[in-house]
Symmetry: C2
């Protein structure tokens, strides 16, 4: 489908994207762009990329430029890339926030060559070592402002994600950011906060961790995630994240109140309500 793909950022998402496209025979040659030489070396070694070039040279040689870097640096890099592309090239991003980026590019003369996407897949690991070929499949990919991109660009990007096994959903950037706060960002914050809660206890000198079982691991897993990636997401989606965080604290206070008052019925009611999540996750 593509002769040459440039990935800007050579980490978990872009590396997995590259591996998956190579695996499906959707790309012949992959160029990596990164400020970090160690990441480039690792990406070359792991076969995520075939060569590394400065961003200007890489963009010039590519049919598709795929940008997956922390959201606080996405806008300036994206502007730079968009200034370089012609009417046959396609640019797509994989960022976890969409409103700021879409607004920043709204009036760019090449806006129609850009497709705003958020493949809702990831792990708690980062960097090129974290990339895996078996990724994305079975998950949802959000496409924002589909109507603002050229049909040929949208069709190709959608076809790529479909071939990776993703379900496509169209959404405006504002709705995307609200929903991402609920189904992704808050999970990371609760996990970070839970880790801090338990680490606070560890200071008292107890070796409580040999007790930690599967339930603990599963709720605290995301606390291993990269601050360089997640802090900018929380900041950029601040209003939505704060709304959800306030709701979450108020839900925790209901549990607190039911325990303080020894209101067994209320406690059970809260838990039975939570059980309804069974409808949503298998």
């Amino acid at each position: 489908m593509f002769d040459t793909l440039t990935i800007v950022g050579v980490g978990l998402i872009s590396g997995s994207f590259s591996l998956a496209l190579k695996d499906k025979g959707l790309v012949k040659h992959v160029i990596g762009v990164s400020r970090t030489q160690a990441s480039i070396d690792k990406a070359l070694e792991l076969g995520l990329i075939d060569e590394s070039l400065p961003i200007e040279d890489a963009v010039k040689k590519s049919d598709l430029i795929y940008i997956a870097i922390p959201v606080d640096v996405t806008v300036p890099i994206m502007r730079k890339v968009m200034d370089l592309v012609n009417e046959k090239q396609i640019v797509a991003d994989a960022g976890s926030t969409k409103q700021v980026l879409c607004e920043a590019l709204a009036n760019h003369p090449m806006r129609r060559r850009f497709v705003a996407t958020h493949p809702m897949w990831g792990t708690e690991y980062s960097g090129p070592e974290a990339a895996v070929k078996e990724s994305f499949a079975g998950r949802t990919c959000v496409i924002c402002e589909r109507e603002k991109s050229d049909p040929d660009a949208v069709q190709k990007i959608e076809e790529v994600y479909r071939q990776l096994g993703m379900n496509l959903v169209n959404m405006d950037p504002v709705s995307h950011d609200v929903h991402a706060a609920y189904v992704s960002h808050i999970s990371h914050i609760t996990s970070f906060a839970l880790a801090n809660t338990v680490l606070e206890k560890e200071k008292e000198g107890d070796a409580i961790f040999e007790l930690a079982g599967g339930g603990f691991e599963s709720t605290v897993r995301l606390a291993k995630s990269s601050p360089a990636m997640w802090a900018p997401i929380f900041m950029q989606n601040k209003e939505n994240v704060l709304d959800v965080l306030n709701e979450h604290i108020s839900q925790l206070r209901k549990f607190k109140s039911s325990l303080e008052k020894e209101n067994y019925e209320y406690l059970v009611e809260l838990m039975e309500n939570a059980n309804k999540i069974r409808r949503i996750i298998k």
Copy 2:
């Protein structure tokens, strides 16, 4: 090792215990005791038990009586069982709280035939259908008040858990309940509360759940857990759970404050601290 085992409660833990013992050749015959006929039928069908009897008859025929029922009904059932056993029989429980039970049995004339245990394994599912043979292995089992049990009883129970692949830890019941609040009970509360947070949003009519990815599933998984099992645990361990819950809410407030003040440095500091959990979970 045992001719006949009675499991009181035929659910996730007791059923998995029975399957594992049968698998390792540690027991010849298993009797199930339950108030729920449907559970007994299912347990017989799945081969978790070989027969079902009233509790008095079951105890009389058994070398080992293993009690795994919600902690609010454990004390009365345990008293009944302890009143029935002789000096050769062994009684063990698998409860998630230990202080109330150990205090309740402290002066029982047969106390030395009881071994207080908490195998730190489980899933979010319950009932006999949830039982799996491959369970317990690689996890920690806490033994409380080891010195108050007869050496032959402790040795046999420890040997069973060792053969199931568990790491044994001795702990007094008060410490156990504190630590369980940190590494198990709080994870369940945050998960229940997170489910309620997101379900609250769903009321607004949005179909946000197709977006839910692996991170969300992992943090919210425990919200599927049984209220009949977990509400009594939270109530019985109320003081410790409230301590941890207060700490957790205060940790969440730190994230809230860092976002409200747009204090990026503080936000990153909170997340970098949480990353230290990498030392503890792989």
